[in-house]
Symmetry: C2
């Protein structure tokens, strides 16, 4: 194998695929990075037991020449040293060459590196998944839906299924939902076309996979193709192939959790509310659950407070847009509230309560595509 | 005590004094931050067993009003929560008030915090040190001398005296020197005036103190006053007072270590050499001592290389400005070389060798105020 390639373009691809590479792997060869030089360009691969990422660099793109010379072949390089060597190359182009003894020579300017490579034959075969169940989404939309839900997945392995985001296509909508059983985040968007071939089985993607995917994808309006089988999901753009396993198990029925009526409704400025909750949380941090209180007043204000007897207490009065319905005193985790308010893109939010001991809902005032639910804590 | 004060100015002072505050202290009251409101402004104090930092905020400075209202008094506040509360205050000014029950009320906009304070009577008295041995330096010069030496102090407590920077005034020069016994860094500047009262005892300042001082000082040409007693050193500007203990013990005589003659002299471009050494170090990192090799060639080039049999090897040929004297093959720690080259401000450096097993010297080509010495490693 031999390739003379643009350093920065190669570095970008390396950064994508190394997101899937772990030095702690049960399969030693997977701690390496695979380089596959073809006639049309080079493909890099990184993989672990959960995800596989492939990034392709074409000979040229939109008139920009990335690769000057190429001879076909494959090699596995050290995923710790190879990226550092490329990053610190003195010139804009690097020459990478491997021989039959699996020796890899990397040359740039007057610097010459010789790395011990590994046999590409030992690297597991990555098959593109075959399925009719595939659809397209704009990348910005996908990233947004991930951002609005993935923070709410469980970080505990007690119920592994809750560490993933559940994806469904129903009622003409694509639905993402995540819950750790104390709070829930849901994002729904109308489907442009009917997905008649969406899997009937449950699709639950590990939250970690979605976080990594989000980091790799640029914010563009280009579309990404999503294909699903019983146990895998693939995200594909022109030069990127991202494959994740799906979580096994039954995802809980979450729609029943969402109250259909409400007794107290508050409209508030998102940013003001977020900052007041953040301040109240300052003295609530050392409580393991960050509990703060919210209380409605008669004069279109709410009071947000917390109390840690050993340290001190905080009280803040916040003027809101409106308060309708019953008086309310409720306690909840400031962390969950901060997480929920941070991903609201609208200036104002609507909070719907059905009593101090019932879950409450936070929504944008302008639309219904986003819903956050938080379970209160009993303190009053 | 009561004060209505500009939030950002207060925050700046808090950030300075908290550098001296540790939550792990043998004297519990020192985990707090002291606020002392006087007629002329407020003084904040943070302290641990090594350093004490005082920062003063005057009522106004250069026409800018920092304090609107002040009532004299003292209080100790929680150094973890108080800074966070001020930082997240909703308005540009905050009101801080303490009562006889040591309750501290912090108010900004509609947010009101109540913190449990501590008794200022329990806080140790900080005395300004009394000495004739004091001199002034421009702040940028002091910061520069710290930067050029402090990285070379020892991080091991085997010989505690080596964890500090030795300061002397001799031969009409102010001299900073640091060594961990494997390398040495020295910075000398001509004295503007004679320091007849410079202490005859050894002055060794903990490296940690100098690092903290450097972080607090802005880069200005203003002067800082330095006062020294047998066991303490104070750095003072108009609004800052920084006090550090000195290290006890005998600092080694370092001047003998510096070779007076040389057998091989290389002039090289600082940046090119730094980058080549950095690249060679990539494959030498997992050796515990980062050893790389340097070899002179006959054609005004040097070869920098390293070899880790399990990973691979690297070789780079670097064209230098000149090579004079004997041929040379030498091995040394790339980390020490990188540290030394990073603080050279000049485009070119002069490296003076006296053989493969003798310490070598790195200097700027333009002047003699800066000297770095590195001990080689035996490999050839």
């Amino acid at each position: 194998m031999k390739v003379i390639i643009n350093r920065d373009k190669l570095m970008e691809s390396i950064q994508h695929v190394t997101k899937a590479i772990s030095s702690k792997t049960a399969v030693p060869i997977l701690s390496g990075l695979k380089i596959h030089a073809k006639e049309t360009g080079i493909k890099l691969t990184g993989s672990n037991s959960d995800i596989t990422i492939e990034s392709f660099i074409p000979l040229e793109e939109e008139g920009i020449q990335y690769i000057d010379e190429i001879e076909q072949g494959e090699i596995i390089v050290h995923a710790k040293y190879f990226p550092e060597i490329i990053r610190k190359s003195p010139k804009d182009t690097v020459k990478i060459e491997s021989d039959e003894q699996l020796q890899v020579t990397i040359q740039s300017g007057h610097a010459e590196f010789h790395l011990n490579g590994q046999d590409p034959e030992e690297y597991p075969q990555i098959n593109q998944i075959q399925t009719d169940a595939s659809f397209e989404l704009p990348i910005t939309l996908l990233k947004n839906m991930i951002k609005q839900t993935v923070f709410a997945v469980s970080t505990s392995e007690t119920r592994p299924i809750l560490t993933g985001v559940n994806i469904r296509a129903e009622d003409g909508q694509l639905k993402f939902v995540a819950t750790d059983s104390h709070r829930l985040a849901a994002s729904n968007v109308p489907l442009e076309t009917e997905f008649s071939n969406f899997p009937t089985s449950q699709v639950v993607i590990p939250g970690k996979s979605l976080n990594e995917l989000s980091k790799i994808l640029d914010d563009t309006d280009e579309k990404i193709q999503i294909s699903i089988t019983d146990n895998q999901i693939a995200f594909q753009t022109e030069y990127l192939y991202f494959l994740s396993r799906l979580l096994d198990g039954k995802y809980p029925e979450t729609s029943r959790l969402i109250p259909e009526e409400s007794k107290t409704v508050i409209h508030a400025n998102t940013k003001q509310l977020l900052q007041a909750v953040d301040r109240a949380s300052l003295l609530a941090k050392d409580n393991h659950n960050n509990v703060i209180r919210l209380q409605t007043n008669n004069d279109q204000t709410i009071e947000i407070s917390s109390n840690s007897p050993e340290i001190g207490k905080v009280e803040e009065e916040l003027t809101v847009e409106s308060i309708d319905g019953e008086e309310l005193k409720i306690s909840f985790s400031s962390k969950y509230m901060i997480d929920a308010l941070k991903i609201m893109e609208t200036d104002n939010v609507k909070i719907e309560f059905t009593g101090a001991m019932r879950p409450f809902i936070i929504k944008p005032t302008e639309h219904d595509q986003l819903l956050q639910l938080i379970l209160p804590v009993r303190t009053f």
